[in-house]
Subunit: 371 residues, 2 copies
């Protein structure tokens, strides 16, 4: 993997770059659609290409439990298994162990947890996580970290962050392949000095990229932004900076402005399935009765497949009838919204006009919502 | 609507033709995918075009109850509402009233029934059914009939069939538009002479096409075939012959051989969602453990999108994980199987080799299942 930084805004931190993988080029800043179990729910890889998605994220935790990493390896790796020919990133499973497993016990060696599928017990170690991700075969893989809960006291967060550093070192040592790029994950909760210490520890180990973890875990938005804005400039300039599990369109606009290059979040896809759709003027809830006979697109400014061909009235009908196509068409729209937003941001950075873009982004919402 | 009969097999009844509608040409014999609520579950119209679907069926009963015929009319009709630019057929809702409504009461004027959605009471008359179908705006519409249950005594079936004839006359009178072609429906249960009487009554009224109704309602397969084989040759040669709600691949091969031109059935789409997939060698159940690590297509002889790109192992993984994409990929395969089977039959009729095709069809299954 190579990272090329083409441009950086002088006044603010916004960066324009490219990640070169052996399976294609990813233009940054980038939003990665989440394909938890080896599928972005409801969409084919061809759909994702049409939307302009250049890299997907898949979840190691889910795929390890079912269908199993050995099976995926035997099928030629996850890319071939799921028929995705572009770049791919897998997470470490750490976050899911902390958010999904019914019980877990963390030790120095790793974490014992119960499967959310059948309650069976599993043991995840830094070395194991690397082996699993090597079996899945993504282009970018992640270190095992402890995703510190919020709120948490300083002593706990410090001990946890230091263990995350030791795990990162073990991941680095266990990772012998050259094909896959390994990223380190910055923890440290809401404590600025712990985040800084974690960054320093990771940078010393020299990873291919760096991620901010432990954000969007229940903390106030301002705290999240403060931590991210504090940590991003500390990360090496010549490596991709990935803010994990974030975020809303507003979060993306702010964090790109602070120098973030990569994002993933279930927000567009999960909200689509719940009937919550993003528009340039804000969000709409498709099941609301006001949309019953609206012969207009979700967003008049949108040129996605769904907005080009279907009315709100039809989408509401599909959603009320629990038709599968509702989830697919809504997902296409929401993902297009996120990916188009990233394209707009990249164009703005390229044109040296990120500040103006940001201003316009907020203005559009104020105008259309009348607030 | 015009029907052109291009060729008819000399020895057997198999026919090759075209239905010309103002929205496109339908090559017959044809299988119509079922889009109950204005969507073939999980697929876009573009998917359906790719599969080679030339005409769809939508259910009047469902669309009338939700979102309502007036709403669909206000949205420019069902074709525009659902973004389908090809020919479309709506049924009369008669079958659904008898199969889905929790309670119903049939009178001379029409049928009172409860909605399966909310228990509300509705009244469906022959005139009402025509008005609703005119609002939906399909190219081909159907008369209201009573779908006689099986088994039923001769007296009941005769009275029911005669009412179906009177309803057909009222539908014909109520239908004033020229754009839509109205088909009559033959009832008469399993009684050959009642079917014959119904055919005679309908033909006298001169419909644009004729359908066999009341089949596949629980009767033995031989009885269904006997009734269909008896009635099909009695129908006018110069009008399309439609066997409603049928059937399995074997049914289609047999009935095309007996001169049927049109079919619809939920079998390929519903079975797809249940993980039952059609192959040239018979059926497979994708959740079976034997498919867990099979790195092969559903059907090696199939060239559908699903078979070109996905292994049984991946499809089983999606199905076990209840992933939306499972239903979509399975539906694509099963519909392709049915539509490809129709293409093969049309080629065989065109080449004057339907008997040989039929023989090969059964032979292939015997070879591949080893039976």
């Amino acid at each position: 993997m190579e990272f090329h930084l083409w441009k950086q805004d002088k006044d603010i931190g916004a960066r324009l770059g490219e990640i070169w993988t052996s399976h294609g080029v990813v233009q940054t800043p980038v939003f990665m659609p989440v394909g938890t179990r080896g599928t972005v729910k409801g969409l084919t890889p061809e759909d994702l290409h049409s939307l302009g998605a250049e890299i997907l994220l898949a979840n190691t935790y889910h795929l390890w439990l079912r269908p199993g990493a050995d099976l995926v390896r035997a099928m030629g790796g996850l890319r071939r298994f799921m028929h995705w020919d572009g770049p791919l990133l897998t997470d470490s499973g750490g976050y899911q162990v902390f958010s999904l497993a019914p019980t877990r016990e963390i030790g120095e060696d790793g974490v014992v947890f119960q499967s959310h599928l059948d309650g069976s017990r599993h043991f995840l170690t830094p070395e194991g996580v690397i082996r699993i991700q090597e079996a899945l075969g993504a282009d970018i893989i992640m270190c095992l970290d402890e995703c510190t809960p919020y709120p948490a006291g300083r002593d706990y967060v410090q001990a946890s962050m230091e263990r995350t550093l030791r795990w990162a070192r073990r991941c680095k040592q266990a990772h012998t392949g050259n094909e896959q790029a390994l990223f380190g994950i910055v923890q440290g909760g809401m404590y600025e000095e712990l985040r800084r210490a974690c960054v320093e520890g990771l940078v010393e180990m020299d990873f291919a990229g760096y991620a901010l973890g432990g954000l969007s875990v229940g903390e106030p938005k301002e705290a999240m932004m403060e931590v991210a804005r504090g940590a991003l400039p500390q990360l090496p300039n010549d490596k991709p900076r990935y803010v994990m599990g974030v975020g809303t369109p507003e979060d993306l606009v702010e964090l790109v402005g602070s120098g973030a290059d990569m994002f993933d979040c279930v927000l567009p896809t999960r909200n689509a399935r719940n009937g919550m759709l993003f528009t340039s003027g804000g969000r709409i809830v498709i099941k609301n009765r006001q949309h019953r006979d609206e012969d207009m697109a979700i967003d008049e400014h949108c040129s996605c497949y769904t907005c080009r061909h279907y009315s709100r009235a039809y989408l509401r009908h599909l959603f009320m009838s629990k038709e599968i196509l509702a989830y697919r068409l809504n997902t296409i729209h929401n993902l297009w919204y996120f990916l188009e937003l990233m394209r707009q941001m990249r164009r703005a950075i390229a044109g040296g006009a990120y500040k103006e873009f940001r201003q316009h982004f907020y203005q559009q919402r104020r105008v259309q919502t009348g607030s």
